[in-house]
Symmetry: C2
Subunit: 392 residues, 2 copies
């Protein structure tokens, strides 16, 4: 029976509920005899390589519960796709500290990291169990029905569009809102939940899964303005042209060598300029880029998301301690009405590396909206939304 210390870390972009997973795992670990010490790695792999840990056995439950409802990543996060050398260093540190359990909360890159280290342990016959705990607002992990962190960000997006559509109705014009999601349109698509009555926006939704055609975009917006006297547009930051190139970026690259999409207004401003070309002079056109608020706004949390994020943390630890088997925790949707779900473990290799994106059945034929199937999928995750009152 596996027994020893555990390390837990957080990786990648923050979410509103990633700390729920952390606290779920820590509280579960405190109950497990197999787990002797609980080390929190500061800034994920970076902290492990630097042996920069905090002891997670000493905090009061009250403090941990405060952490659980706080967005971002309480241990600190890191953007690091480790190479073999980094993984070897991590494994060395694990051996040095008698670490037998490793829990890594993150997306597909984190699953890949966990996978590599698990393979190293296996090849050295080092008794070790590693679990990937899923997290991403992008909702792009394979196998799982959906990813913890997504539904809270989706709730923020839905609420933002609900309010912004009322704003646009009060002072007409074209409003373009740029939503996070480099390769997957799930979060942008959640904007459709803002619609409560005929004529409500968003009137157009553009996702990275479909080719963004500038001429079609201009025609689409002009047609909506003709129909409604206004137009609210949801656009993913990751939209690409027929050659797969981004429509506009700041030109900066992030630490993964990817073009920087978030944290700049470049795309919104470019799209505004295009819309102005398509409309009569003086048309009111505005663009907002929701930016980091989507992933770390306090108090805007989906109840389902908070519960599931907590549960996958707990489940990972309980599974590891009782089964000693590597894997990634996944969510199975048992029913949408009423919404119920269960958890299971899938091999790391099924989640690692490659991500997924919106199914074709969730996107309309024209590629400028979502389908009812999408709404049926996403609505129960996001939860009830306030009803917008109206007079005109």
């Amino acid at each position: 029976m596996l027994k020893g210390n555990m390390v837990i870390g957080q990786s990648g972009g923050p979410t509103a509920v990633i700390n729920q997973s952390l606290v779920g795992a820590v509280l579960a670990a405190r109950e497990q005899e197999a787990i002797t010490g609980i080390l929190g790695a500061k800034h994920g792999l970076a902290g492990i390589m630097a042996e920069d840990f905090i002891d997670l056995t000493t905090q009061s439950v009250e403090q941990l519960e405060e952490v659980a409802t706080t967005p971002a990543a309480a241990l600190g996060s890191v953007r690091l796709k480790p190479g073999k050398a980094e993984c070897e260093k991590v494994f060395e540190v694990f051996k040095k500290h008698d670490v037998r359990f490793f829990f890594y909360i993150g997306g597909n890159d984190s699953a890949e990291t966990a996978h590599i280290i698990a393979e190293m342990a296996k090849s050295e016959n080092y008794d070790f169990c590693t679990m990937h705990i899923p997290k991403t607002i992008d909702n792009d992990l394979r196998v799982t029905d959906h990813c913890p962190g997504f539904a809270s960000a989706a709730r923020f997006v839905a609420l933002a569009f609900m309010g912004d559509d009322r704003d646009n109705k009060a002072l007409s014009g074209v409003k373009i809102n740029v939503v996070m999601g480099r390769d997957a349109g799930f979060l942008t698509a959640a904007s459709a939940l803002a619609r409560q009555a005929d004529g409500d926006g968003p009137h157009l939704i553009y996702l990275p899964e479909t080719t963004f055609n500038v001429a079609q975009f201009k025609a689409d917006v002009a047609a909506q303005v003709e129909k409604h006297g206004r137009c609210v547009v949801a656009v993913s930051e990751g939209i690409v042209d027929a050659d797969g190139h981004p429509i506009a970026t700041s030109g900066e690259k992030d630490s993964h060598g990817n073009l920087q999409l978030s944290g700049t207004g470049a795309l919104g401003d470019t799209l505004s300029a295009l819309v102005k070309e398509a409309l009569p002079a003086g048309a009111r056109v505005r663009a907002d880029t929701f930016g980091y608020l989507q992933r770390s706004f306090p108090t805007i949390v989906s109840d389902v998301d908070a519960k599931e994020a907590r549960d996958v943390g707990t489940y990972a630890v309980d599974h590891a301690a009782s089964m000693g088997e590597n894997g990634s925790v996944a969510i199975k949707r048992e029913s949408s009405k009423p919404y119920t779900s269960s958890y299971f473990v899938t091999p790391l290799s099924t989640v690692a590396r490659e991500a997924t994106s919106m199914k074709a059945e969730y996107i309309n034929e024209k590629g400028n909206d979502v389908t009812q199937a999408w709404l049926d999928y996403v609505a129960p995750l996001v939860g009830d939304l306030p009803k917008m009152g109206r007079l005109i």
Copy 2:
């Protein structure tokens, strides 16, 4: 005793609670014998000139209460600084429809409009009472302690910075957040409420009331990065250089002929570029422009703000019906701890036209932060904020 129909309209930028004022006024008017009909003007003055009204005596209280908690402006809004011709047209419509009471919910321009029409009525001996009901997220009206709409937007800004600061702590770098407020820094200054512990951001706050010096800005950011390894910056969209010129805009002008500040990422991207010049190559610098979310995000509402917005609507109608006297409703702060307030009526001329801005005592000497006096002023308006949990 004045008796006849009333018209109510909404003007200017939406807020989260402007519909509270509308519903407060409508429900109060339904109780007043002096008020025979209640006409809602669609899109403010534009609707009055077009005689485009809706009857506000027929909706259920339930429907009105839904409207009250919905952001934006349920009657539609308008950006129109009317000239004499427009005011004459409005007055003509009022006479035609036996309108004896006019309630205009808006900022200083709306107070000015109400003032002009009141003067017209006086000069023609037309028995008439007009009340301005204050509303602006900018908090820049004279006489009143603060403006309905401000505290809810301030709450959004405070929460956004709380979450974004945790995000920045998890993944270090420089983060610049651009906040609304063309000439007044109140909303940007509310970001200071996000600080709960030593080292919390925002680490720097720049307001339109002080000259923005690019060299000083770069030095300030570099010093904060040196100290904290990161830096979160709050910047008003209205910051200006020593000549009073905006630091960066999209070059577009709005319907008032003002340079467009909101609905573009131009300033944030410009400031990002400046910060990159001040830091070592490869520094992680991001900018978000909060945009319209600040003023119309559903569910993020200050309790004090919602109550006061409702109250000023009710107060305006009751005052008009009982006193028949023109004016603008203002809020008097009776006490900050515990927070209590009362209402009074101030002459339209004291609120109309000119706006106000942050007092000097609210801004630190260096012009890159706020003072304790500011926090004492703003905290009770925004209300309790969730405590951010932390581990490192």
